[in-house]
């Protein structure tokens, strides 16, 4: 019974609300429900519900819809936050299980929260047990969504139509439990342009992947740009040790490696200038050669053909 109810007083039934569905599937539930909904000015509905009931297997359901969200276009950093408490009206704290079903029309990841830290190997569930402190006071429970769940969530139109269903199970006969909710919120990243990329320390990036036949490794860091699409680079400067590998079939025309310098891609053309390759020349006598050949050194292999510097013939002075 609700704590505020007197012996002979029968509370008025809750006002129906289209955003909520209350039901009881257990015949022993005789809870008086005080349901209130308010908007705290945030981007999520704020609600408070009291539900007291007894009996093994007693179930109370709360379903609420969340406000539409803007799809951020990323599949990470989605967290379902619920602030709640489980109240116990008996002398000894009793176990109860909260089953939170976060659902879009076609996706229903389920999370089970236990009053104590005992894991419950019952019910069908695919989420995580809550293993934090007991819920005798308001506690924020954060349930991260996996990327696969976010993908399903998006495909099911969850950003426009999403609900949270909370089931409360009493585990023992005679248990009297209740639960209060403060807010339910789905947190997702902001949409729009991202923050500038700042790189510190050693390491590297790999753009591309095995699917495109790329499998490079740069020991001291660097960048690997790979892919079939034309590489579009905004002006940037790179001065540290390391290097770049630009791979792919379009735009660059093969892999180029530098030891201690970098590349400058300027203008609208596709020519580029190698700033500081460690190359040197040694003349190999070749009767048919029409140019000089430089050989890359310092661990690199390959040659670069260059012109003979303006070969010329001069006669002696002609005169009488």
């Amino acid at each position: 019974m609700a704590q505020s109810a007197t012996v002979n007083e029968v509370p008025d039934p809750p006002t129906p609300n289209p955003d909520f569905t209350e039901c009881s599937t257990s015949p022993v539930v005789a809870a008086d429900i005080v349901l209130a909904l308010s908007n705290g000015g945030g981007s999520f509905p704020t609600l408070s519900i009291l539900a007291d009931f007894t009996g093994t297997g007693a179930i109370y359901l709360l379903t609420t819809k969340l406000e539409p969200l803007t799809d951020p276009g990323v599949d990470t950093d989605h967290v379902l936050k619920i602030t709640l408490t489980l109240r116990d009206f008996g002398a000894v704290p009793r176990d109860a299980v909260l089953n939170i079903d976060f659902n879009a029309p076609a996706v229903s990841p389920t999370f089970i929260i236990h009053r104590d830290t005992t894991l419950i190997a019952a019910n069908s569930w695919s989420g995580d047990f809550y293993t934090g402190p007991d819920l005798t006071s308001f506690t924020i429970i954060e349930i991260p969504l996996t990327e696969a769940e976010v993908i399903d969530f998006r495909a099911a139109g969850g950003y426009n139509d999403c609900g949270v269903k909370i089931s409360l199970f009493a585990l023992g006969a005679g248990d009297i439990v209740g639960n209060d909710y403060d807010f339910i919120e789905l947190v997702c990243p902001s949409s729009g342009g991202g923050a500038p990329l700042v790189i510190t320390g050693s390491g590297g990036f790999i753009f591309g992947g095995q699917g495109l036949g790329l499998d490079y490794f740069v020991p001291d860091g660097g960048f690997i740009f790979g892919g079939e699409a034309l590489l579009q680079l905004n002006p940037f400067e790179y001065t540290a040790e390391g290097g770049f590998i630009f791979g792919g079939s379009a735009g660059i025309g093969g892999n180029q490696i530098t030891g201690t310098g970098g590349f400058i891609f300027g203008g609208g053309g596709r020519d580029f200038m190698i700033l500081s390759p460690d190359i040197g020349g040694i003349y190999f006598l070749d009767f048919l050669a029409t140019h000089d050949t430089f050989y890359l050194r310092d661990g690199f292999q390959g040659t670069e053909d260059v012109k003979i510097p303006d070969p010329f013939i001069q006669t002696a002075y002609l005169g009488d």
């Binding site: 053909d305 012109k307 003979i308």
Partner: protein
Amino acid sequence: MGQDNIIHFNALRGRIKGTGILRTRLFDLDETQSVNFPLINMEEITGKFVFKLINFKSQRACLELKTTSIDEIMRINKLVVFAKPIFTEYPG
């Protein structure tokens, strides 16, 4: 002969083959003046001598032939510079 006359150099004829462009010029003592022949587009098979006209007057002249691009080659078997003395000396 041997009087250092002022000579008019007026033409070049030669057996010139190769690939690319041959750049040819005349310059005088200390290279105080020079003049370029017209560019010669070299070919491996020509079937004729190359003949280029020029107008250059000096007591001495040096003929220079060169290429400036990669993989340009020149093969020269014969060169004739046409010249004629026209003055005995510069005005005193």
